[in-house]
């Protein structure tokens, strides 16, 4: 048994999603090698080698992997598949992009978004936006899997795996990276944050999100949003928490002015502690909240800011 885990990283650093997916990979059993494909990605490879439980780090360092474009990534991963019984990647937008391509090249099914490993060939995954859980057994000799990272704890450090260069694969030449616009923020990523404060349609406009920004900065939290707030143009798309946005599971999730549509709950209901602030006491968000405060957010949020100040933030 051997497993290949494809790392999520920014070349300069390893993304936390990799350490979480490693926990899923280790649960399958056998050695886990990590593939770091990038450009000038030595720092990410070093970080991967330090994760506990990694047998070996394979590095494919070439400009064609700088932005993880799907076609060359899939060609590289499929080329390495012969030595492995399972290939995993975190279900980030990168992993979701190249992994099904890998599966089709290998002529195997993909098991998307697993939330638990029940055996070497048996996994569970959410369907219908998390309203049901499907338990599936794979009949394929090779398993191609993406991991819902919010469902797994991050593997710790303490490893010292060997780092090996691997041959660069083909570039099919049917696509090229043109550019990107990344939301600039000093705050943690939504998927890595320990605390998230999210706003919904109740925020009324984009300027009012500054109230949440202030609290986020105090707490070292990330700021998220419901689909309604994104659709209304209050904040950019990548703020969206929910079925079609980010799936998160922080220690503390504070939902402000969010009614709690099924679509949104699907993205945050695995959070450890959920707080809801909403003036409508019938809002469905209260059915999943550990602590509900029925109040006008425009009074409650400034109060929260002040109360946090009193306890040392």
């Amino acid at each position: 048994m051997a497993t290949l885990l494809v790392a999520e990283h920014s070349n300069a650093a390893l993304n936390d999603a990799t350490a979480k997916a490693l926990t899923a990979a280790a649960a399958i059993g056998g050695d886990v090698d990590v593939l770091v494909a990038g450009a000038d990605c030595g720092a990410a490879a070093d970080a991967a080698s330090k994760l506990a439980g990694v047998a070996k780090v394979l590095v494919a360092d070439d400009p064609i992997y700088a932005k993880q474009v799907a076609e060359p990534m899939a060609a590289l991963i499929a080329g390495l598949a012969a030595g492995y019984d399972a290939i995993l990647a975190p279900a980030t937008t990168n992993g979701k992009n190249y992994m099904p391509r890998v599966a089709a090249m290998l002529d195997v099914a993909q098991i998307s978004d697993i939330i638990s490993v029940e055996g070497p060939d048996t996994f569970s995954r959410p369907i219908y936006a998390g309203n049901a859980i499907e338990h599936v057994q794979s009949g394929d000799a090779k398993k191609v899997i993406t991991v819902r990272t919010a469902s797994f704890a991050a593997a710790g450090e303490g490893g010292s795996a060997a780092i090996e260069a691997t041959a660069v694969g083909d570039n099919p030449g049917v696509s090229e990276f043109v550019g990107e616009e990344l939301t600039k923020s000093d705050r943690p990523d939504l998927t890595a944050a320990k605390i998230i404060i999210s706003g919904g349609r109740g925020m009324q406009n984009g300027e009012n999100f500054e109230m949440l920004d202030k609290i986020a900065d105090k707490l070292g939290a990330a700021v998220g949003a419901s689909r309604a707030a994104v659709d209304a143009g209050f904040v950019p798309n990548d703020y969206q928490v929910g079925q079609t946005g980010k799936i998160v599971a922080p220690e503390l999730y504070i939902a402000v002015g969010i009614s709690g549509a099924i679509q949104h709950l699907a993205g945050m209901k695995d959070s450890k502690v959920i707080v809801a602030i909403n003036k409508d006491e019938e809002a469905p968000i209260f059915q999943v909240a550990d602590y509900g405060l029925v109040a006008d957010l425009f009074t409650a949020v400034p109060e929260l800011d002040a109360e946090l100040g009193k306890v040392g933030y």
């Binding site: 980030t92 937008t93 979701k96 992009n97 992994m99 099904p100 391509r101 599966a103 089709a104 090249m105 002529d107 099914a109 993909q110 098991i111 978004d113 369907i127 219908y128 998390g130 309203n131 049901a132 859980i133 499907e134 338990h135 599936v136 009949g139 030449g173 049917v174 696509s175 090229e176 043109v178 990107e180 616009e181 990344l182 939301t183 990523d189 998927t191 605390i195 689909r227 798309n237 990548d238 079925q243 079609t244 503390l252 099924i262 209901k269 450890k272 502690v273 959920i274 707080v275 209260f286 909240a289 602590y291 509900g292 405060l293 109060e303 929260l304 109360e307 946090l308 306890v311 933030y313």
Partner: protein, 249 residues
């Protein structure tokens, strides 16, 4: 250019689904079915390409039971030209869907295939990428906008930290994300017109495919219920609970 849009008939997104008591699946009896919302966006995009003069013909294909014909009619009422129903009552996994679609692509030679990024029933998010791999085409997944240049397509993609633009050679695969467009409602005259548009009925084997499953569904269970907690009276009480009882502050 010819555009192919594969569409899926799924449980309507407004339906609160129920897991069967015997854990064999989700109860689909007497449940409202509709076109997968992401596929509606894909159909809309193809129809807009036709209205802009970029595409000459829009073909929709659905793999599923006889009733999937209704889903095809919906797409025809939105403005697609003709439909293909690949009839099967089996559960069809994404890899099988992609293989059947490869056969459809070879028969129809479209220059662009637009799919929804995922179906809201199995939430797999695989078919478009798999089809691209089987054809050796480029893929622009999770598209927020598309722009055709000569022989190429610029696709703005929704990614974790923002957006990314890739340029793919045509022919290509695009998968639609939520904000590619807002699908139209079909007008009554267009619904009437759609009844006269042709739908070909085929079988998976006609396109060199089958429905042999690779995965066995052992059971389908309810997700763990989250208990509603308590209501607090004030912000001060809330902060105190979070700090002293939960230890998350």
């Amino acid at each position: 250019m010819k555009v192919l849009v594969p569409i899926k008939r799924v449980v309507d997104y407004n339906v609160k689904i129920r897991v069967k008591a015997d854990q064999t699946g989700v109860d689909l009896a007497n449940v409202k079915m509709s076109m997968n919302p992401f596929d509606e966006i894909a159909v809309e995009e193809a129809v807009r390409l036709k209205e802009a003069g970029t595409a000459e013909e829009v073909i929709v294909v659905s793999i599923g039971p006889q009733q999937a014909q209704e889903t095809i009619r919906t797409a025809l009422a939105m403005g697609a030209d003709r439909g293909i129903l690949v009839k099967t009552d089996d559960r069809v996994e994404p890899l099988n869907v992609a293989k059947i679609l490869k056969g459809v692509v070879e028969a129809e030679s479209p220059e662009l295939v637009i799919l929804g990024k995922q179906a809201i029933d199995d939430d797999a998010n695989q078919t478009g990428q798999m089809l691209a791999a089987l054809l050796g085409w480029g893929q622009g997944t999770f598209a927020a906008s598309i722009d055709k240049q000569d022989g190429k397509l610029d696709v703005v993609r929704e990614i974790d930290g923002g957006t990314q633009t890739v340029r793919v050679s045509l022919p290509a695969i695009v998968t639609a994300d939520l904000r590619l467009n807002e699908p139209r409602y079909a007008s009554l005259p267009n619904i009437m017109k759609a009844k006269k548009k042709p739908i070909d009925e085929k079988a998976p084997a006609d396109f060199g495919g089958d429905t042999t499953a690779r995965l066995t569904v052992l059971k389908v269970t309810e997700p763990p219920e989250r208990e509603a907690g308590i209501k607090v009276e004030s912000v001060a009480e809330l902060v105190s609970k979070l700090k002293n009882e939960e230890g998350v502050l």
